[in-house]
């Protein structure tokens, strides 16, 4: 077998080269992953925090149910549900573009995982932190806002990093509902050009590079947010 990287300069039949198509697909991947990440972080942080609220059994149960629901159904099936079933049951969703439906699917799926991290992070804090906030006369809201969440967030940064990288990789599942992202490109371009190895190598490299970039960004955040004197998990010890 010989290499043929020229394949990327060929016209794909619509006036653009395969290279241009691939870069556009990469932008779709980043768009799907980025938007889903926002949804997942906001919902995940909220749901995860609700699960730790004292004396709010109904909210805790609802939040737990959220996590169990979105964690125990495969992502691909969830995306099919959002794409095919939800618009059928709720007519208002028929006008919603496929991109947004996929973002719901991927975002909520990941939110369950992130909620689990937030819960674990909050519960990993010594009880004394909560009591200290109470002793200061903080309301529940204030103690979460000023004491518990800032500490918990720092503790869970390492697992949040890997969940964010997982989210990026999981965005590949969007191919199943014809979102024009990298995996979709890989499958179609492989079929059209029969240069599967070159195409897959390029796509794989883009995925790996993107995941690595996410990793570096989080490492940077972790470094910036480190509080001297506190030993936070995963950083190899504090001062």
């Amino acid at each position: 077998m010989t290499w043929d990287w020229q394949v990327f300069l060929q016209d794909d039949g619509s006036g653009r080269t395969y290279l241009e198509w691939m870069l556009e697909a990469w932008r779709w991947t980043l768009a799907v992953a980025g938007t889903s990440w926002l949804v997942a972080m906001v919902v995940g942080a909220l749901v995860g925090t609700l699960r730790t609220l004292p004396e709010r059994p109904v909210l805790v149960r609802l939040a737990n149910a959220w996590v169990e629901l979105f964690r125990n159904i495969p992502l691909l099936v969830q995306i099919f549900l959002w794409y095919f079933v939800v618009p059928k049951i709720i007519p208002a969703f028929q006008q919603v573009p496929g991109f947004v439906l996929v973002v719901f699917g991927l975002g909520f799926f990941t939110s369950a995982r992130i909620a689990e991290q937030f819960r674990a992070g909050i519960q990993a804090l010594p009880r004394g932190q909560r009591y200290a906030a109470m002793a200061m006369g903080f309301t529940t809201w204030q103690s979460y806002r000023y004491v518990i969440l800032p500490m918990a967030f720092r503790i869970i940064l390492p697992p949040l990093t890997s969940e964010s990288m997982n989210l990026l990789k999981n965005s590949s599942v969007a191919f199943a509902v014809s979102i024009a992202e990298l995996t979709m490109f890989a499958m179609q371009a492989q079929e059209e050009t029969s240069r599967g190895v070159e195409i897959y190598l390029a796509v794989t490299a883009l995925y790996a590079a993107s995941a690595f970039a996410v990793n570096r960004v989080f490492a940077f955040i972790e470094k910036k947010m480190r509080i001297p004197g506190f030993i936070v998990a995963g950083t190899g010890g504090g001062h």
Partner: protein
């Protein structure tokens, strides 16, 4: 209800379309778990061996697998296996090989953590008894590591079971495909997806509940 008619799914359809796919999904999960743990343990031992070439190659393999989406790995293997063995291969066989290779990377990280969680004194005790490296691993370290990591290994198996639905990418006939086909043929795709979701949910929810129970049990024994 809501314009859906779930009643179209009856025992006949389940048996004709879904059962075969269900069996394959379970088969794939079990084989990939056992194979993944076996090769994953080998990878973990390589990484902890202290021999630079072994450590480097195992690390390269594990990190490589873990930085690529599973769907891409499935596509890669489906493309490359026929090249290597020189004849076409079925989607199902390709899926089994892919999942073993892919899951080995994830299981190796779990086993590595498990092995490292065993106090050094255990290793020294084995050595003091005159055990070889292999005996020490097989009789002292690995059984304990395996036991400590059992809940994590099972949780990974549940994730693996969910991930088997991704063989959709190469058209292998699994549980999801069974429902999809039934939905297409009977003109009720939405209901079929909903039923698939329910089946996956029930299985995964029950399994994760079981893992939680097991975890509590193990914690008490220790």
């Amino acid at each position: 209800m809501l314009g859906l008619d779930l009643a179209f799914i009856n025992w006949d359809i389940l048996q004709k379309f879904v059962l075969g796919g269900f069996v394959f999904s379970i088969e794939l999960t079990v084989i990939a778990t056992l194979g993944g743990i076996f090769f994953g343990t080998l990878l973990a031992l390589m990484r902890l061996s202290g021999k630079r070439a072994l450590t480097a190659s195992a690390t390269f393999y594990v990190n490589g697998m873990r930085s690529v989406p599973l769907v891409m790995v499935i596509l890669w293997f489906y493309l490359l296996i026929p090249f290597v063995i020189g004849k076409p291969i079925g989607a199902e066989v390709s899926a089994i090989i892919t999942f073993i290779a892919f899951e080995a990377a994830y299981f190796s990280e779990i086993m590595r953590a498990g092995i490292q969680s065993i106090p050094r004194g255990q290793v020294f005790a084995g050595q003091a008894l005159g055990m070889t490296y292999a005996q020490n691993m097989r009789l002292i370290i690995l059984p304990q590591a395996f036991r400590n990591m059992l809940p994590v290994l099972l949780t990974q198996t549940i994730i693996l079971f969910q991930d088997t639905s991704l063989v959709y990418a190469i058209g292998a006939y699994d549980l999801l495909k069974g429902f999809t086909n039934a939905g297409k043929i009977y003109g009720r795709p939405e209901e079929a997806y909903l039923m698939a979701a329910v089946v996956y949910f029930v299985i995964c929810f029950a399994l994760s509940w079981g893992v939680k129970r097991l975890q509590a049990k193990i914690a008490i024994v220790r």
